[in-house]
C-alpha cells in the first residue's frame, strides 16, 4: 500500500513514525501516565498497522516511557515523586560526568557548536514552546556530546526526555517558569567556554536542582 513513499525525508518507516508520535503523545501527557495502551486503539489513532504499533511500544519500553505487562500488553509508564527525584539524581550525576569529559576534550569546533546552539535556543525562546523545547534539548545535549561516551549520552538523552514529561505534567506545557533561565544558561556556557569544569558543572547542577525543586514542590507524595 502506501508504505514509505515520501519524496525523501530521512527516516521513514511506519514503525519509526509511530514511535515518534507515540513518544510525543506520552511526553506531553495526551496519553496519560499509567493508561492502558491498547494496540487497536493506537492503530486507529495513528492510522497504521498493528505491527508498527507493537514495535514502537517495544522501543518506548527501553526509553522507560512505556511499561510492558506480562502477557497483558502495554501501558504508559506511571509517574510519581520518587521517580521524578530519581531522574533528577541521575541527571545531576551523569551530566556532571559527561560535561567534565566533554570539557576535557574541548576544541574550537565543539565550542563553535555550543555557541550556535545557545544562540538558536535564545532565538527560539520567543517562538512556539515546541521549538524552544527542541532547541533547549539540542543545547544541553551539545554540552555533553564532546565526551565521546555514546552510552552515557544515550542515558542523558533518555533522562532528559523523561524529565520533559514532568514539566508538561506540572503545567499545561506552556509554563517554563520565569526564573532567570537565560542567565543560568549563559553561566553554564561561559564557564564551559572558559574550560572551567568545576564552575560549569556546578552551574549545570544548580540549574537542574532549581527546576527540580520547583517541580517537586508541585507534586504530592
Amino acid at each position: 500500500m502506501n508504505v514509505m513513499l515520501d519524496t525523501d525525508g530521512k527516516e521513514t518507516s511506519a514503525t519509526h513514525t509511530a514511535y515518534l508520535k507515540l513518544r510525543e503523545l506520552i511526553l506531553t501527557g495526551e496519553l496519560p501516565a499509567g493508561q492502558k495502551l491498547k494496540i487497536e486503539q493506537l492503530r486507529k489513532l495513528l492510522q497504521t498497522g498493528a505491527s508498527p504499533v507493537r514495535e514502537a511500544l517495544s522501543l518506548l519500553t527501553s526509553d522507560m516511557l512505556v511499561e510492558r505487562l506480562d502477557q497483558r500488553g502495554f501501558r504508559a509508564a506511571p509517574v510519581g515523586k520518587a521517580n521524578f527525584e530519581e531522574i533528577l539524581l541521575l541527571r545531576c550525576n551523569l551530566e556532571e560526568i559527561a560535561l567534565r569529559a566533554s570539557i576535557d576534550n574541548a576544541d574550537s569546533e565543539w565550542e563553535d557548536r555550543l555557541v550556535l546552539r545557545h544562540h538558536h535556543m535564545n532565538r527560539a525562546s520567543q517562538q512556539k514552546a515546541a521549538d524552544f523545547e527542541d532547541a533547549h534539548k539540542a543545547f544541553h545535549m551539545a554540552l555533553l556530546d564532546n565526551a565521546k561516551l555514546p552510552m552515557l549520552e544515550r542515558y542523558c538523552a533518555q533522562l532528559y526526555d523523561l524529565n520533559i514529561r514532568y514539566r508538561y505534567l506540572a503545567a499545561g506545557g506552556a509554563s517554563y517558569q520565569k526564573r532567570n533561565i537565560e542567565a543560568e544558561h549563559q553561566s553554564i556556557l561561559d564557564a564551559t567556554l572558559d574550560r572551567d569544569a568545576d564552575s560549569a558543572t556546578s552551574h549545570l547542577i544548580e540549574h537542574y536542582r532549581r527546576t527540580g525543586e520547583y517541580l517537586s514542590s508541585q507534586m504530592d507524595g
Copy 2:
C-alpha cells in the same frame, strides 16, 4: 502451533524465550560482535517465528547488545576498547551511587539477603561457570538493590551484562583469572555490613578496576 504450553514455568512467550536465547548467544560470543543478524537465520536457529525474533531483537537493542541499522535489519553490537572502557567508567560511577544509597537504607533484612547471596556465590564457585556467573551477578545486584532506585538498578544490570561479554571475549569463557576475587568480595561484603560506605565503595571500585585493567590489557586499539 505449540505456543506457550508449558506445565507452568513463569514467563513463557515465544518472544521472551527468543530474547533469553539470543541474549545468551550474544553474551557468550556464539553470535560474534558485529555480525549481521538475519531474521530467517535466527528463526531457524531458535525454531520459532519471525515476529518473536524481530521483537526479541528490538528488546536487545535497548540492552545495547544489538544495533538496528536503518532499514537494513540488525547486527550484534560491536565491541572495542573504547566501549569497554566506557562500560567500566559508568559502572564505577553508577554502582558507587547505588551502593551508597543502599547502605543509607540498610536494614537487617537486606543484610541477611546479602550474606545469603554471598554464600551461594561461594558455593557456586566450585560448580559450572554458568552457575557461578548467575550467582555472581545476583550478589552484585543485591549490593545495589536496597537503593530503591529502579532506573539506576536497571542501568547497572545492563552494564553488568555488557561487561560479561568482554569476559567471554577475553577468555573462552572459563577463565576468571586467579586473582583473589574471593577476598575482594569478602571485603566488599564486610564493609557493607559495617555500613562503611566509603570503604565498601572503594573496595567495589577497586574490584572493577582490577578486572578492568586485566581485560583491557588483553585488548587491542
